[in-house]
């Protein structure tokens, strides 16, 4: 069941974006989505921690503050399994491009930063499909912190890793916790062949690189869509 190492052979393509909170990965992924859609490519979007089955449980538990690193990890794995079965595999079977905002690597980074065993969490997710393209938006903690605090007043409890008890000051806790998360991402970049993006660069510069990677890696998949679009453009010009 070690499917994270094996290329899937479904007709669709799976693109995932990873990075710490405030790295700008969601911005980049939605720009990519718009571009693909404009090419006529059918795109399906899915986010971390969004299955109906688990969402309410996670929310309640977070409020009660009864989650341990292990139950936190298992709840997210359950959510992921549910989404994989209902939201990721069906569109891939239908030949669509699935863009996942965070994937199992988020769990590998965060859960290990919270103290679970590195090998255990990897075996936990061994049912996951290997993405066709994995982008990692790498950003210094100071930058992500500035971005997060510019759009809202406060850091969230879990995002700041306040549950780990490393510090009672949210900003300090964020820095300590997210630097552990960063270490884990860096460790994975090679292990899983991430496309590492300089997430400090201007948005449009990053997006240009993202699109270039997608065009290159998904060349065969995209070819019919691009041909169709070019043919339509030629017809329009001829008129």
């Amino acid at each position: 069941m070690a499917e994270l190492d094996v290329k899937h052979n479904l007709p669709g393509r799976l693109i995932i974006v990873e990075g710490i909170d405030g790295s700008g990965k969601t911005t980049q992924a939605s720009l990519l989505r718009n571009w693909l859609s404009a090419q006529g490519v059918p795109v399906f979007w899915t986010e971390w921690n969004s299955s109906i089955l688990v969402k309410s449980t996670t929310k309640k538990a977070k409020k009660r503050d009864s989650l341990t690193p292990t139950t936190f990890s298992l709840l997210h794995a359950t959510d992921f399994a549910d989404r994989l079965s209902f939201k990721i595999i069906p569109p891939l079977k239908a030949g669509m491009v699935v863009i996942a905002d965070r994937y199992s690597f988020t769990a590998f980074a965060r859960d290990v930063a919270r103290g679970v065993d590195r090998e255990w969490v990897r075996s936990l997710y061994s049912f996951a499909l290997k993405p066709d393209i994995a982008f990692y938006f790498k950003v210094p903690i100071k930058v992500s912190l500035k971005r997060l605090l510019s759009v809202r007043q406060k850091l969230k409890f879990y995002e700041a890793g306040m549950d780990t008890g490393m510090s009672n000051d949210p900003v300090e806790s964020f820095e300590l916790f997210q630097s552990r998360v960063l270490d884990e991402y860096d460790r994975m970049a090679e292990e899983y062949g991430f496309h590492v993006m300089d997430a400090v660069a201007p948005i449009q510069v990053q997006q240009k690189q993202v699109r270039a990677v997608v065009e290159r890696e998904l060349h065969d998949y995209l070819a019919p869509y691009i041909a169709k679009k070019n043919a339509a453009a030629v017809t329009a010009n001829a008129r």
Partner: protein, 244 residues
């Protein structure tokens, strides 16, 4: 007492050195009579002066409602179920079982990870994956396995109640009627338990006999494990009328 150990990689952030209590598991098929036996064991142990805490499969504060909801709907597949069960167990392990063992209680577990192994494997999970998943689980001190054959089991279950959708394995045996599905599913679960009995050193107890006979065997096995010095009460199994 031997050093307490995890089944696999364990919980790196938890120290087990002070868990002086005892973890005793009662396993066996749906309808085999585990609950009756556990109630009798609990009162016997309490009469002996031991502090007892019971913990039951799927009954965690965190997950019991979610699991009931998932069972009521039909939107959950085998993989998700395995993970829901594991989350439930993890919550009970960290919030009930380990704290109780630290305080010196006897923890009586109604089902344990072996139930998860059997059910998952019968539903097609990779045996290695499900064991790794529970690598954070605690090795129990004693596993008491109430064994029956499927022919005895079906009659007991039918006399107690009608066949349940999940107990009959109808979630994955499509096209079978409830009887055939129950026999096939529970038969396979029993074979998995039997296989594990050897792998994990279960004390296998013939559960086709009377409640009293079974209880005497259970008490003997526990007395041996936790070194109960006197007055086993082995010859005085008193059973309330509603349990017969």
């Amino acid at each position: 007492m031997a050093t307490r150990q995890y089944m696999g990689n364990g919980l790196p952030y938890i120290d087990l050195s002070e868990t002086t209590g005892h973890l005793i598991v009662v396993e066996g098929s749906d309808g085999v009579g585990r609950t009756t036996q556990l109630t009798l064991l609990r009162s016997w142990l309490e009469v002996q002066g031991y502090g007892v805490i019971e913990t039951g499969w799927t009954r965690s504060q965190l997950m019991s409602k979610t699991i009931d909801l998932a069972k009521a709907g039909n939107t959950v597949n085998a993989l998700t179920f395995n993970l829901l069960y594991a989350t439930d167990y993890a919550d009970r392990l960290e919030n009930e079982i380990i704290p109780a063992l630290r305080s010196g209680f006897i923890v009586l577990a109604d089902r344990y990870v072996y139930t998860a192994f059997a059910r998952a494997i019968v539903r097609g999970a990779d045996p290695e994956w499900i064991r790794q998943l529970y690598g954070f689980a605690l090795n129990p001190d004693l596993v008491l396995y109430l064994h029956v054959d499927v022919n005895t089991l079906i009659r007991r279950v039918l006399l107690a109640d009608s066949l349940d959708h999940w107990e009959a394995g109808m979630d994955h045996n499509t096209g079978l009627d409830p009887y055939d599905s129950f026999m096939k599913y529970q038969g396979r679960v029993i074979r998995e338990y039997d296989r594990m009995a050897e792998e994990y050193n279960f004390v296998t107890i013939d559960a086709t006999r009377t409640v009293e006979e079974i209880q005497v065997d259970l008490r003997e096995a526990i007395a041996k494990e936790i070194d109960i010095p006197h007055d086993l009460g082995l010859d005085r199994v008193e059973i309330a009328p509603h349990m017969v």
